[in-house]
Symmetry: C2
Subunit: 330 residues, 2 copies
């Protein structure tokens, strides 16, 4: 079915009919603005990510269901990286001619499936037509007690550096997609990443982290933001980077330096965080309760910049190599 | 200067250096998410609008400064229509190749000028490149006491219908732009609309309105949302529509039926609201204090639909004729 047959208000109605009530939501989709009742004593955490066809996703690689999930996941990951509990979100969509109602239904179903998994509610947004390509903009609200919010700026020399899950899979998945593959674990990681919401909240509640960020631009680049924000340096041992069995098997086929791919590849949406040394023993047991693996990969040091220790024990300074939207591909 | 010379983080730094601290803002631009402290006992009001080059604006018609103002103004208008006090906002920008740093500086200056006028603070957002055309997505937060928030659903038969300012100017301005004109009052109204924030807040605080909306899709279309939301009808007297002197002089040159243009033309961003008859005498004195003109244009009636009374006293049912993003122009 073509979108023009149901019109803008038909599309909004189709989306809102799938949305159920949310905690604290007082006015949902359908008025000039949505209204939510904040939890007393908590800060509102808010993040926004925009995804453009041809920049952030390729409809030859992904299906609408997983695209819907990922569009929300990248925002959930940002709130998780502050230690926040996600609450509700807005979705703005610019839709090009030719996109069908069925495509948008599947997109919405995917997004709302992930929303249900995390107890978050769609409360508003905007829809319009797009002359060129699908544009998705999501704004997500979370909450947390002020004293539990984790910033990028609290890392101190001696703190241990941890990362959840495994890194490099998403970059490998994207490369495999470009080479014509359509299935496999790394591709799933790229198209349908898992935001570490429960891990982020557990870490915040335990008050363990001195700084935290999610790995979206690449581990080296995102660690750089912690180092800049905290005024410190870091030493990372390349051999300690957590790599999936799939990555160990397939990355050497696409990259002469797999560990550099793991260090700089983006979009893993794992949590990267620092913990004071005297509490670092609490990390693994805590995250085991959330079912998320965690690995110590190095430590914070005085000074600035990232030093990477290779398998031979030699240190090398490493550029960040992360994704910069305006210097890459233009 | 080209954007690639300063990169994504250069652009973010350039924007954030212009932003000053805001009331209740605890973490601004530069972390995974922003944090704000809600005012106890108030609801969070949130709205989002996306503006696409070639759909919502044409860079042949507007300059970046006014585009920046308008991108925020349309969101301020939504919060105003709930009776909310605007607080802070997020800006997501997708920028095509060829847009200069100077263009983006002027855009930001315009947006932040209007932000200062209303005491709102930029707290976050996203930036990326766009393969085709500039994309602007703004999410605005406001606040209001729950009992003062004005919805679309409270209009009752007998309520008087009011609109602020004048209507039709923006549609006239757009038509004049299409005909090659570049200056004049109606064009200013189209390119740099005035959100009626103070009027909306004053009306909410006085508890005068049973329903309110802003005129973005056109008076008839937006009134239709109130009628649908409230389960009522309305009678509007065409002769009572507030028309500017500029509109009265120039609209007949572009339209054989200027009053229909005023009834259906979009983007005036005036407030359209209903007031119980026994309190309708309070409206004009209250809004005079905010410097905003207001006109009674009809009343709410039982039933459904909009009846328009022409100069000859005859009633005609009127279609909504508002802007529907997917049925118009595709």
């Amino acid at each position: 079915m073509k979108l023009r047959e149901i019109g803008e208000f038909g599309l909004i109605g189709r989306i809102s009919s799938r949305v159920s009530d949310g905690v604290g939501v007082r006015i949902g989709i359908g008025d000039d603005a949505a209204a939510a009742e904040p939890t007393p004593g908590r800060w509102l955490l808010v993040t926004s990510d925009m995804l453009l066809e041809g920049v952030h996703f390729d409809l030859a690689y992904t299906d609408p269901f997983r695209l819907g999930r990922k569009s929300l996941a990248v925002n959930l990951s940002d709130v998780a990286a502050m230690g926040g509990e996600p609450r509700h979100f807005l979705l703005s969509l610019a839709v090009p001619p030719g996109v069908t109602v069925e495509f948008l239904d599947r997109f919405t179903e995917g997004m709302l499936e992930l929303a249900r998994e995390h107890g978050v509610t769609l409360i508003g947004g905007d829809t319009c037509r797009s002359p060129h390509g699908l544009v998705i903009s999501v704004t997500l609200h979370g909450e947390q007690a002020p004293e539990l919010v984790v910033r990028r700026s609290g890392a101190r020399p001696g703190d241990r550096l941890f990362v959840t899950g495994t890194v490099g899979d998403s970059a490998l998945g994207l490369e495999l997609l470009r080479r014509g593959e359509r299935q496999g674990w790394a591709i799933d990681r790229h198209l349908d990443p898992t935001p570490r919401v429960r891990a982020g909240v557990a870490l915040a509640r335990a008050g363990l982290c001195s700084a935290m960020i999610d790995v979206s631009d690449g581990l080296a680049a995102d660690l750089g933001h912690i180092l800049d924000g905290s005024g410190v340096g870091a030493r990372v041992e390349l051999d300690l980077l957590p790599l999936s069995p799939f990555f160990r098997e397939h990355a050497p086929l696409v990259s002469p330096t797999p560990s550099i791919l793991a260090l700089t590849g983006g979009e893993d949406y794992e949590l990267l965080f620092t913990v004071p040394p005297e509490r670092s023993g609490e990390v693994a047991p805590l995250l085991a309760e959330t079912g998320v693996a965690v690995t110590a990969i190095g430590e914070i040091i005085a000074g600035s910049g990232l030093a990477v220790v290779g398998p031979d024990g030699r240190e090398a300074a490493v550029g960040r190599g992360g994704y910069n939207h305006f210097c890459d591909g233009q």
